[in-house]
């Protein structure tokens, strides 16, 4: 299927963002996550394409 090849870079980017976001979330104390709970963020990162990780990076982390 040629289409899959075409969008392969987008899928790669999405996976990469998701992995970085998850690694960051796992290594972080719950107190330094917006809302104080980790699991809603985990769901958002995994199930909301691209936007999930990006929102987490910019709004979800308290440093």
């Amino acid at each position: 299927m040629p289409d899959m090849q075409l969008i392969a870079p987008l899928i790669a980017i999405q996976l990469l963002l998701m992995i970085i976001a998850l690694v960051d979330l796992i290594r972080r104390d719950a107190a330094r996550v917006a809302g104080g709970k980790k699991w809603p963020w985990a769901l958002g990162i995994i199930f909301i394409n691209t936007l999930g990780p990006i929102v987490y990076f910019f709004v979800g982390r308290k440093d």
């Binding site: 104390d29 107190a31 330094r32 440093d63």
Partner: protein, 305 residues
């Protein structure tokens, strides 16, 4: 050496005057207790001493250098920890200490030695390789003090170092300050008199942006050594007003609850006669003792004029 020299410092903000007249000098090592209520001007004064804010008028010299014009010389001799110290949360205590050491231009070995020594002294060695973001308030406070000492400053400025801590943390930090004040000047603001009574050698009282008093604790006590007789009757309904007012050798007396405090102009006569007189009034003594003014009494006297 003059450690701090403030001369008629004022600080005005748009809508109010935070400091009206702050003048005091501090010499030599020891602990200076900077006492005042909320909004008295403690933090503003400290921010000026450390160069974070500029005074509207007046002069400040710290370790002999002008805070405004010779800032660089001041920073390398002064350590500072704010009321709620903040760090880069992703760093560990070790990383923060090493970074701060580099900012002061210390060489790597010195920094490592000082880091080990100070983290040990302040009791955070065990947590030193964990990110600071996970620290409790007390741990951050102690790290704040440790990092303020890395360059061996002559003056350590602490803004309310114990007010946010639980009793145990408070005790630890006060003990630490007691150790430190043997080698340097520790300038510590607080609104709690007990802290000062415990560790300060010099006291400065500030109220409404004006320094009311700056004196060594020893001198302050000496100038207010006035023997008083304190007693209480079992019978609280007996009114002693007429009896006490009628005695020539009593200068002044106060009553608070059932406790009387009597200032005698002639202590010997008072000691010889007062007990009889009290018993003759028909009461029995719950307690009776000779004492001096507490720091609390002196403080209230000074603040209330």
């Amino acid at each position: 050496m003059r450690v701090i020299e403030c001369e008629s410092l004022t600080k005005e903000y748009k809508d109010h005057k935070a400091l009206k007249d702050v003048s005091f000098t501090i010499d030599g090592i020891g602990c200076v207790g900077f006492l005042g209520g909320n909004g008295a001007g403690k933090t503003t004064t400290i921010r000026i001493l450390t160069g974070l804010a500029a005074p509207t008028a007046g002069k400040v010299k710290v370790v002999g250098y002008d805070v405004v014009t010779e800032r660089n010389k001041v920073t390398s001799e002064v350590g500072y920890c704010p009321q709620i110290p903040a760090f880069y949360n992703y760093m560990t205590a070790t990383e923060w200490m090493q970074w701060v050491g580099k900012l002061y231009g210390l060489d790597k070995r010195t920094v490592e030695e000082r880091t080990d020594e100070l983290l040990e002294l302040c009791g955070i060695s065990e947590a030193r390789n964990r990110p600071i973001g996970g620290y409790s308030g007390g741990m951050k406070q102690r790290l704040g003090i440790a990092q303020a000492l890395i360059h061996n400053p002559k003056l350590l400025v602490l803004d309310e170092p114990v007010s946010a801590l639980d009793p145990m943390g408070r005790h630890d930090v006060l003990l630490l300050i007691e150790k430190l004040k043997r080698h340097m000047t520790v300038f510590m603001s607080t609104h709690i008199l007990d802290d000062i009574e415990r560790i300060a050698d010099h006291i400065i009282i500030i109220k409404d942006g004006t320094v009311l008093l700056s004196s060594s604790l020893e001198e302050l006590r000496a100038s207010h050594v006035e023997p008083i007789i304190e007693f209480k009757l079992d019978q609280e309904d007996i009114d002693l007003t007429d009896v006490l007012d009628g005695l020539a050798w009593i200068r002044e007396w106060t009553r608070e609850g059932g406790t009387y405090k009597v200032f005698a102009s002639d202590l010997q006569t008072a000691k010889a006669n007062l007990p009889h007189i009290l018993l003759e009034s028909g009461g029995s003594l719950a307690y009776y003792r000779l004492s001096t003014l507490s720091l609390q009494d002196i403080f209230l006297k000074v603040v209330n004029g």
